[in-house]
Symmetry: C2
């Protein structure tokens, strides 16, 4: 090794030792005849001291060194005269006797500090410099620890990690595939997996009983801020289980991670059905760090001549505690907020429960008595503000859900250090798509209907529920899963309900249908977004900074400059032409 110690480990008890450190010149400063350098590596920062009086040549040499030079410094550990309590190595410094420049550095295009001066694009181009910053290093260290803890838990619970292929077959169902032209099989293509779903089911048919994998998955979708074309999934499957077994096992995993990583312990996670999640939070991934549940109004407010209520499919509101003193301006802001296209509300009605009585934006239609009755429905108390929306059921719920989150943020109820896990269960099996005028599997086509709802698959498809579940933490969906179909007839029915012809089902999933005829066990599982787990544990919004080398929103790696053109020889060999 070129060093005896790293830059984070020397303490007062090492005083007097001769050591060699290697690292990057983080900062340097000159104080009279003394020159100090902070030398940095992954493990920390240590102060190097150079005394002009003792060694003028060395001091001169050191003063010419620039930021981010790579150094090897030899010297004696000594107690610092002015200690730095913010630094774990702050009690000591190295009285350097010799220094070697292991590599030079141009001046970095942005500062290697927590609050860097570099813009997004520049930091993406020099990702290897951005990764030197403490923020990103901390994120990747968290990611390493979480992956290690996950594997420990899974191993202790008898799960085998089994790797599944990346060069698979394209299936039109679901998101768009990335494809890979085959050279050896002209005009044919592999696809990169969107998830190992069918493989893990085949592993259950093969008797592997408990499978998991931390695995890269690929989706060629138009990207949003928190989506990446490649992302990592914790993929799990178990045999001979019912829904409760899966929930217990993975609630256990989350508790284990929270305890080991955060020192937090939890009782049983809360649960809510999908139907109630929509009813009380307008969302299938409610943030339950704060309450503020939806209150549906109907008989209370219809028939008073207020057209917006009278015509509405749904009238629903929330009660913001102690917000009765919101100014006109604040309420206008909220109204503007709900009218944004991405929120989609058509207006906002308020009822203030002030010290001086109840006032509202619908005083024209409701008298004090009637408003009081509404307030009672909300369980409102003096000082509260009720906010009500009305209109189409689905749209109104979505818009009010956005408002609820916005209010939660404004009121400081969505704190990054609090964690509120929630199971959402009993998802519908199918959802109708207006555009293509057909049902799609809400989870995926391998999810089993609840046995008691199976008979309605062709008569009332929208009413069929599934043993499907999501784990939501702080309003973020961390994972989802289901009990799967394990029998060929039911899988045939499912494909039929999704509008597949027998031929299509066979071409795309023949191998799985075949497998169901050779003794498939009852099974179910779950998959978590690992990038998301990392960001939620860190209290961050975006997953991008938990990925060492992410793509930008156009799917480009700016540092590599990829994707890029390939040679005509390559195209030739692959039997493809550009358009």
């Amino acid at each position: 090794m070129l060093r005896t110690h790293n830059c984070g480990e020397l303490r007062l008890e090492n005083q007097g030792e001769r050591v060699i450190l290697c690292g990057w010149l983080h900062r340097s400063r000159i104080l009279g005849g003394m020159t100090f350098i902070d030398i940095r590596d992954r493990y920390g920062v240590t102060q190097l001291a150079f005394d002009e009086q003792k060694n003028a040549d060395l001091c001169m040499k050191v003063r010419s060194l620039g930021r981010e030079f790579v150094l090897q410094a030899e010297g004696i550990v000594r107690e610092r005269s002015s200690k730095n309590i913010k630094l774990v190595t702050g009690d000591i410094e190295i009285e350097v006797t010799d220094i070697k420049i292991l590599n030079h550095s141009k001046t970095p295009p942005f500062t290697i500090e927590d609050n860097t001066d570099g813009g997004d694009e520049l930091r993406m181009r020099y990702r290897y410099l951005d990764l030197r910053r403490n923020v990103l290093k901390t994120n990747l260290e968290l990611r390493h620890r979480l992956s290690f803890l996950i594997r420990n838990y899974m191993n202790e619970n008898g799960f085998m990690e089994i790797e599944t292929p990346f060069l698979v077959k394209s299936t039109p169902e679901g998101a768009r595939d990335f494809v890979v032209p085959s050279r050896m099989n002209a005009n044919q293509f592999y696809a990169l997996p969107q998830s190992p779903q069918t493989f893990k089911q085949l592993l259950m048919v093969a008797g592997y009983d408990r499978y998991f994998q931390l695995v890269r998955c690929f989706r060629d979708e138009d990207l949003r801020a928190d989506r990446q074309p490649e992302f990592t999934q914790l993929d799990c499957e178990m045999s001979f289980v019912e829904q409760e077994d899966v929930l217990q096992m993975f609630e256990g995993l989350m508790k284990y991670l929270f305890e080991k990583e955060k020192g937090l312990s939890f009782g049983d996670f809360q649960r809510i059905t999908w139907e109630n999640a929509m009813k009380y939070y307008g969302s299938d991934k409610p943030d339950i760090r704060f309450d503020m549940k939806f209150v549906e109004l109907d008989c209370e407010v219809k028939g008073f001549g207020f057209k917006i209520f009278d015509d509405a499919e749904l009238i629903v509101g929330i009660c913001a505690a102690n917000c009765a003193d919101y100014s006109r301006k604040q309420i206008d802001e909220l109204t503007e907020f709900v009218k944004r296209p991405q929120v989609g509300g058509n207006g906002l009605i308020y009822i203030r429960y002030g010290e001086d009585g109840i006032k509202s934006s619908i005083d024209k239609f409701f008298n004090a008595e009637q408003l009081k009755a509404i307030a009672q429905k909300f369980n409102a108390k003096t000082g509260d503000l009720m906010l009500i929306m009305a209109g189409n059921k689905a749209k109104t719920r979505t818009a009010l859900s956005c408002l609820r989150l916005e209010l939660g943020s404004r009121l400081g109820l969505r704190c990054g250090n609090a964690f509120a896990p929630l199971w959402v269960t009993d998802f519908p099996l199918l959802e109708w798509d207006e555009e293509t005028a057909r049902y799609y599997a809400m989870h995926h086509p391998f999810t089993a209907p609840k046995p008691e709802d199976y008979s309605k698959l062709f008569t009332h498809p929208a009413e069929v529920r599934a043993n499907a579940y999501d784990l939501v933490v702080n309003g973020v969906e961390l994972g989802g899963g289901s009990i799967r179909i394990h029998n060929r007839e039911m899988q045939n029915d499912m494909f039929k309900a999704l509008g597949f012809s027998e031929e299509e089902a066979k071409t795309q999933f023949g191998f799985l249908l075949d497998a169901f005829e050779y003794g498939a066990p009852p099974h179910g599982g779950i998959a978590f977004g690992f990038d998301r787990i990392c960001s939620v544990f860190s209290g961050a919004e975006s997953i991008r900074d938990f990925i060492a080398f992410p793509k930008n929103n156009n799917g480009r790696d700016i540092m590599l400059d990829a994707p890029a053109n390939i040679s005509s020889v390559q195209l030739e060999e692959l039997n493809i032409k550009l358009k």
Copy 2:
């Protein structure tokens, strides 16, 4: 859970307990009024017993069940009257009171036994059934354990597992890339990584100090039996190290794996330079489970009028102990062996050191005295057989190396339970390719020349050695690595020596060259073939059965029927046409 216990855990101490087991009908047999079923799951096999006299209906039902049916059986654990000592559950059986068929099974196309009757192609098509066989299950369990142990060791030694991207940039250097057309960036392609080499070097530049990853890699090469288009690599890199540090760290890893998995402990691994490996074994990956080193003859045998020797660039042989009694037929077989095109020898000369004196195939040219001198050179003793080849140096070494391995196998010296690890060091930096008339990097273009040889890079390129090393176990290269270049000028020189124009170097590796200008630390690393580690630990030849879903030699997944055609819509979106 649909079961109280698995099929491998019940023992005599569970006697009298009411249990529920789930699993596959492995075998059934009728003995008079008793019917027995072996029920199997991942954990083992348990005997279910049905007594016609006690429950005739149940017994009837059970007799209609076929192989591989999925069953749920409830009953009481009881001591077996005739115990099966081959089975860990062999002391007990379940007196079944109720049985449920969880799923039917068609008769499998081959038997689920260690010695199955299924051919390769059939077993690939029904891989999920083949994976039920004990052999494959044992392999995948070994793979799971090894990956878990590797991560433990790496974590304990301060390595961070950092995931690198799969959608990267195509580089013509090295093997052929698989490419992925980009929809969002028309006419451009990603490539799948052949290894994360450049990323791990960038992580060192970013200061991550110790990185590892168990990661899938891709090479679009024509396949041999032990190659797969996608394979898994244990990829590692360290900063501020010299060669010795890397060797120690990963010798430590291998010792840890051997000890934990095999209970074997090793002293220091043997080391040999590449030059000596070629001289003494004719191979850069010698199997040193047995000795039989090459002995070079020259002055001893030249100038005696034997043209084959006189004209040869190299005369070299091996001494097979106690083989002097090989028959004419046996020696003819060996001669045929070396003449095979894939071995490439042009003939074989033998000298028998028998009880009755020395006899050889070159008695015409050498008298007894001269033959005795040769035998002395071989350190041969009575009873030994010397086998000699002559000709072009490289070809003769390769052919004799094949013969040495063949003899080792015939003599039972290459036993699967013995492990002989070996470091091969000091590889040449470059190798000349006749076809393209240029030098190629023997390891890869990022390997540093030995400092003392650097000056010869342009004057005597073939003589430049690298701090590059391979770990070889039992004649199989498990991994290889090197100390890398960390400075831009040297990397420029290296690209120049490889015939890259400045422009080419910049287009392909500009980001890495840039990175070297911002404080790259000295670094080095190694990468292991994880599939190979698994097969060598298991004493197997091929890696295919250590991969859950492998491709065949045409790169096809027979089960999925992939690669396959994709839709015209997909081609349209990707801006490509088929030729």
